[in-house]
Symmetry: C2
Amino acid sequence: MSRAASIKDVANHAQVAVGTVSNVLNNPDRVSSRTKERVLKAIDELGFVRNDAARQLRAGHSRTIGVVVLDVGNPFFTSLVRAAEDAAAVNGSAVLLGDSGHDVARESHYIDLFEEQRVQGLLLSPVGDIGDRLDALRQRGVPTVLVDRLADEDRYSSVSVDDDAGGYLAARHLLDLGRRKLAFVGGPLSIRQVADRLGGARRAVTEADGATLEFLDSNGQTVLAGRGVGNSLVERSRGELPDGIFCANDLLALGVMQSLTMMHDVRIPDDVALIGYDDIDFAVSAVVPLSSIRQPTEAIGRTAIELLSEELDAQHPRHRAVVFTPELVVRQSTAGAAAPAVLTPVP
Amino acid sequence: MSRAASIKDVANHAQVAVGTVSNVLNNPDRVSSRTKERVLKAIDELGFVRNDAARQLRAGHSRTIGVVVLDVGNPFFTSLVRAAEDAAAVNGSAVLLGDSGHDVARESHYIDLFEEQRVQGLLLSPVGDIGDRLDALRQRGVPTVLVDRLADEDRYSSVSVDDDAGGYLAARHLLDLGRRKLAFVGGPLSIRQVADRLGGARRAVTEADGATLEFLDSNGQTVLAGRGVGNSLVERSRGELPDGIFCANDLLALGVMQSLTMMHDVRIPDDVALIGYDDIDFAVSAVVPLSSIRQPTEAIGRTAIELLSEELDAQHPRHRAVVFTPELVVRQSTAGAAAPAVLTPVP
DNA sequence: TCGTAACAATGAAACGATTCAAAGCGGAAG
DNA sequence: CTTCCGCTTTGAATCGTTTCATTGTTACGA
């Protein structure tokens, strides 16, 4: 298996100059079909494969884009990356994927790696605050687009989702069903996403006649945390239960559902309407299929690549912050809900 | 932002030869500390970043390993890749990740891409049969280790998990609890994993006194498919229900659990002991925490890198096929199970 | 027959890091 | 004073591709 064949070997084998081989690969119309054929035959016979290192050394930049996400296991990011890959492929670029796992060191490691690879640009869902790092990168010609994080438009382009709007959407849906005694499950509020979703829900409740919103701190976003909240809820007398519950994510909602419907017999959606957030795969498969808020992950990925292209094209790039509004997905956990007789639904 | 600084710029700025700068980076002990200091200062001031393309062009190979998996969203692969990354990092190699999404074209695309990048080797969980492709790759000096697929040791190294053993383990566990009327849920049997797991279960049942195994074709491995099987089961009279159910994966098991415990009142594990396969995150969070079979993903990833290193080192490499045995994880869905009074547990 | 336009093919130079034989430099020994 | 040794430093050559100015070829009209 000696050494990989180079363009020079191909040239010798096909009895042409190296430049001609290169042209066959990059500017096929400049080459007569007779020669082209001979060259392609030689390529095939020698099993020649382009050496991308040499190509990009000459070109001065690669045809790759670096993407660093917080957690590849999270379907939100998986789907986002998939969309980014597809969008990048249209421009003939490939994606290098890095998983920071919420770890600053890993994140930094990938940024270094990608910079050594001379990626055209970076898509980054940052772990912490790395403004300085990004400034230095841009200085050296590596533009970065922040993903899933709203950024100051004067400094960066970013693509994010409006969690406040999502919270509003969820609460408003419950209110539209005639529910008035709402509860929000989530926490701690130090997590921005959670706080924003709660904020949006509060806004919706303020707008509605005689509606209340109770905050139930779950201190974690897992199924178990949700079940814990559910269990403490059912200790109340029936009359004091909320008639609509909005959970900061689907895992919490599934936990609440388990607790209410299986371990106690509160009916969903009849007694309590329930809605989650994220629309994970399991939402459809729950005993009572779960209503949820879906984030437009494909659009986010596509847009991120778009913004990156803009930064690459423009000489003096202006940054843009694109904010997406999430979408309501109605399923049985709220859909079958009849409004409690006493209250009139909001028009 | 003109042009990225090169080693030559650093050399000028620090008043030394390019070779010296290179030595500072790669053989620091050959350089006097005075010069080293000057060079490092220059690197810092110019914001110099190594151009990996040039480095690997000279070296003839990169320091990366390509990994192509069937589905990055699948926790099995996520965890495997993470382990492979860590193992590769020990040798100073980085991992390029590609997601074929069970698509032959995507798979092929990534293999091409990685070969152009001159990866040292490939870890591949193949979509179909690509023996020829791999032979050609090896011819050109790119060794490949197959992952999650047993391969002929004469031709490839591979790391896989013994699904037959896993099936045996699950069924044996149910039998050890005293259950005798077992059912296997899964299908279609054209999926090798499913067939193997069923095969292992059959073997265990054959060994046990008076035990029977019924095959219930779910025709799919989803929660809904599992619920479907559950629903058809409960139409039987109570006496005809199996007392132990083994599902080909956890999703099916969760579906069966939903159907039996929530929609009808079969008690788990008292009436029916239930065990799944894969040990997904949700297994712990089920209403009745689900027993399952766990695959040693970290070990698989680590071993795959090890085998690849062996292939890289050896002149005339002998291939190895490493097969891991999965592990039983006992939770409440089988643990609390009392053996039916009539039957004596197998010793 | 000659000139010239159109088209093909050529091959040297450039990209940036690494390598390595050779040169430079002090200091110690003879 | 010369020689030699060990330690630093030097800089040309190299990797494989692309680019582009140059050369070669063909065909056609004058």
